[in-house]
């Protein structure tokens, strides 16, 4: 459809403004991580790599990073296992309450983090008597990470249909061989996409983490939050934030390419 000049101009303006609101502040964070002024004077009087060095040497940052990676990997592994199994069950079998199960799996991503956090914290702490720590953080993250894997695998299964598996069985492959040679290779990119998204979700999660992490456990977002208002740590916080932006963008970009890609052409 052809748009008038005015319409085109105003749509472009809206697009640029909308994206600008999102991405300009992120650019400021990245710039500030090189700002030589300790109190982020604007415009920056000069640029320095000093804060990046300081961040690199900070044991607090390094510990928090390691905790975050552990939490992310743990939650991703659980999400991959449960999400895949749930997707297969819902897509391939007819059973009572199938639609309800599907809804219940997807729901946690929409639930307010604070509700999930309080609920999990209460259950772990008061009901089950499990001490809060890295384990409870992993379980907490897994509740909403399962969705990303589930959705990716479900979409792939739907598109794949049953034909290829029937063809494999027809050619003499038993159920396990069919899974190994046909189903799994066809699912691989969907699993990778779902896993990357799950990891990214877990890596920057703060609300559920706050409620499920014990006293000694500090993920990177928690560390940032705690140090945000300490003047001497502020420049390092900027560096960590800038690094987090990069770390989050890469898996999301990869996941989008993988789940958008058609397995027929690869």
């Amino acid at each position: 459809m052809n748009l008038s000049r005015t319409a085109r101009a105003s749509l472009w303006t809206a697009l640029v403004l909308g994206l600008g609101v999102i991405y300009v502040p992120l650019g400021v964070v990245v710039l500030n991580s090189f700002n030589s002024d300790r109190t982020f004077g604007w415009p920056p009087p000069g640029f320095t790599l000093q804060w990046w060095g300081a961040a690199w040497r900070s044991t607090g940052v390094r510990d928090a990073l390691w905790t975050s990676v552990q939490a992310g990997l743990g939650a991703t592994v659980i999400a991959l296992l449960l999400g895949t199994m749930a997707a297969f069950a819902v897509q391939r079998y007819r059973f009572f309450g199938r639609d309800t199960v599907s809804l219940l799996i997807v729901l946690p991503i929409a639930l307010p983090g604070i509700v999930t956090g309080i609920a999990l914290s209460n259950t772990f702490h008061s009901v089950l008597g499990v001490p809060l720590g890295l384990f409870t953080v992993i379980v907490g993250h897994a509740t909403f990470c399962v969705v990303t894997v589930y959705n990716n695998v479900l979409a792939r299964l739907r598109r794949m249909g049953l034909n290829l598996e029937e063809a494999s069985a027809d050619l003499g492959a038993d159920t396990f061989t069919t899974f190994r040679l046909v189903t799994f290779p066809m699912m691989r990119s969907a699993l990778l996409a779902g896993g990357l998204l799950a990891f990214a979700l877990s890596f920057d999660e703060i609300i559920v983490t706050t409620f499920t992490a014990g006293a000694g456990v500090r993920t990177l977002p928690i560390w940032i939050f705690e140090n945000l208002f300490r003047p001497n740590q502020a420049p390092v916080v900027n560096v960590v934030a800038a690094a987090l932006i990069v770390v989050s963008v890469v898996p999301i970009y990869l996941a989008q390419r993988l789940s958008g890609g058609d397995p027929q052409t690869r």
């Binding site: 034909n163 290829l164 029937e166 063809a167 494999s168 069985a169 027809d170 050619l171 003499g172 492959a173 038993d174 061989t177 040679l181 046909v182 290779p185 066809m186 397995p263 027929q264 052409t265 690869r266």
Partner: protein, 363 residues
């Protein structure tokens, strides 16, 4: 003259049990309250090229899927080579399938696709490579080993699917609408090619189609399906020349039925009769002309209501004076479109030999 014959009489009953590639007894399948297959008995001999013909929803594909093992029957048995396989999984049966959409593995090369069956049966690598290359050669696809299915045309994919199934040398090859996705020209080529390949390998081919012409030209025998049951089993000539039921007469070719009062007045008998359009001769209904009807012929007078010129032949739609309408197909041996078009509205007499009219049962 030709009383209605029950379908059992058409099925050859002399084949010894050991030579049955496929034997179905009382095969039934319902999906919920929907009955897809309502009791099918069928014998397919070893080495036969056998077609299951019917409109969509007639149960033919469900029967094929039960033979392959993808659906388990609600009742009845499936025997392959004399062995009851009703309860066996697809991978435990000595059949292979060419799927309608080919179902090639997109993440494997053409060669890997063809090798697949041998690979999962643990045939040594060198042997399976040789056999796969041979199979590709037999479908004229040598040189395409390294391609991915996505890089092939529809006809090429079809042949890869064929090679992938045949390389396993199954007892029976099942083909589900194998030519349905190809364009007309390619389909005609593949019809000839499939027939040649089948003669060469000597494997029983059992194929499903809704195309009556395809069934008639390719197969040794045809089973006509309707509403979950078999209407008639026979050679293409039997099916075409002596349709057992009105459904078969209508589905395979043009039905041309003479029934009721028309039958009584023209043929002097009660019942429903069928005459194929090309068996009818169109002569002028000229009272002064010498009677062209001999004693072994029947005739009926009527008015030409429609003339369809179709190149090599012309189709006349004739409304009979005694009721009903017949279609006559005449080869354009000496006439041109100019001549035949002028016949619309003329009085004509249709003449046919008595041996070409057949009584059919009601279905």
């Amino acid at each position: 003259m030709f009383p209605f014959m029950p379908q059992q009489a058409v099925t050859p009953v002399t084949i010894p049990a050991s030579e049955h590639a496929v034997r179905l007894r009382g095969l039934r399948k319902s999906f919920g309250s929907v009955v897809a297959v309502a009791g099918v008995d069928l014998d397919v001999a070893d080495g036969e090229f056998f077609a299951m013909l019917g409109p969509s929803g007639s149960g033919k594909t469900t029967v094929l899927r039960m033979i392959a093992g993808f659906e388990s029957p609600t009742g009845g048995t499936v025997e392959l080579g004399g062995r009851d396989v009703t309860r066996l999984a697809p991978f435990e049966r000595d059949v292979n399938t060419v799927f309608q959409d080919y179902a090639l593995f997109p993440h494997m090369s053409v060669l890997e696709n063809v090798e697949y069956g041998l690979r999962v049966k643990r045939v040594p690598k060198t042997e399976r490579r040789t056999r796969a290359l041979e199979a590709l050669k037999s479908v004229r696809l040598d040189g395409f080993e390294k391609r991915r299915p996505a890089q092939l045309s529809g006809g090429q994919r079809q042949r890869v699917a064929l090679a992938r199934a045949l390389v396993n040398r199954p007892r029976v090859l099942l083909l589900d609408e194998p030519l349905g996705a190809l364009d007309l020209k390619l389909r005609e080529e593949m019809q000839v090619e499939l027939k040649a390949i089948q003669r060469e390998v000597g494997i029983t081919f059992l194929f499903v189609t809704h195309d009556q012409e395809e069934a008639l030209t390719m197969s040794d025998r045809v089973a006509v399906f309707n509403e979950g049951g078999i209407e008639q089993v026979g050679t293409p000539a039997e099916i075409y020349e002596r349709p057992a039921t009105a459904f078969v007469a209508g589905f395979v070719g043009t039905s041309n039925l003479i029934t009721g009062a028309a039958a009584r007045s023209v043929l002097g008998r009660d019942g429903t009769f069928s005459v194929r359009p090309e068996k009818l001769r169109v002569v002028p209904a000229d009272p002064g002309a010498p009677d062209p009807v001999s004693s072994d012929e029947h005739s009926a007078e009527g008015t030409v209501s429609e003339v369809v010129y179709a190149g090599p032949a012309t189709r006349f739609v004739v409304d009979l004076d005694v009721g009903g309408r017949l279609i006559a197909l005449q080869q354009n041996l000496e006439v041109s479109s100019m001549d035949v078009m002028g016949l619309r509205g003329r009085r004509v007499r249709l003449v046919w030999q008595r041996r070409h009219e057949f009584a059919i049962g009601s279905s």
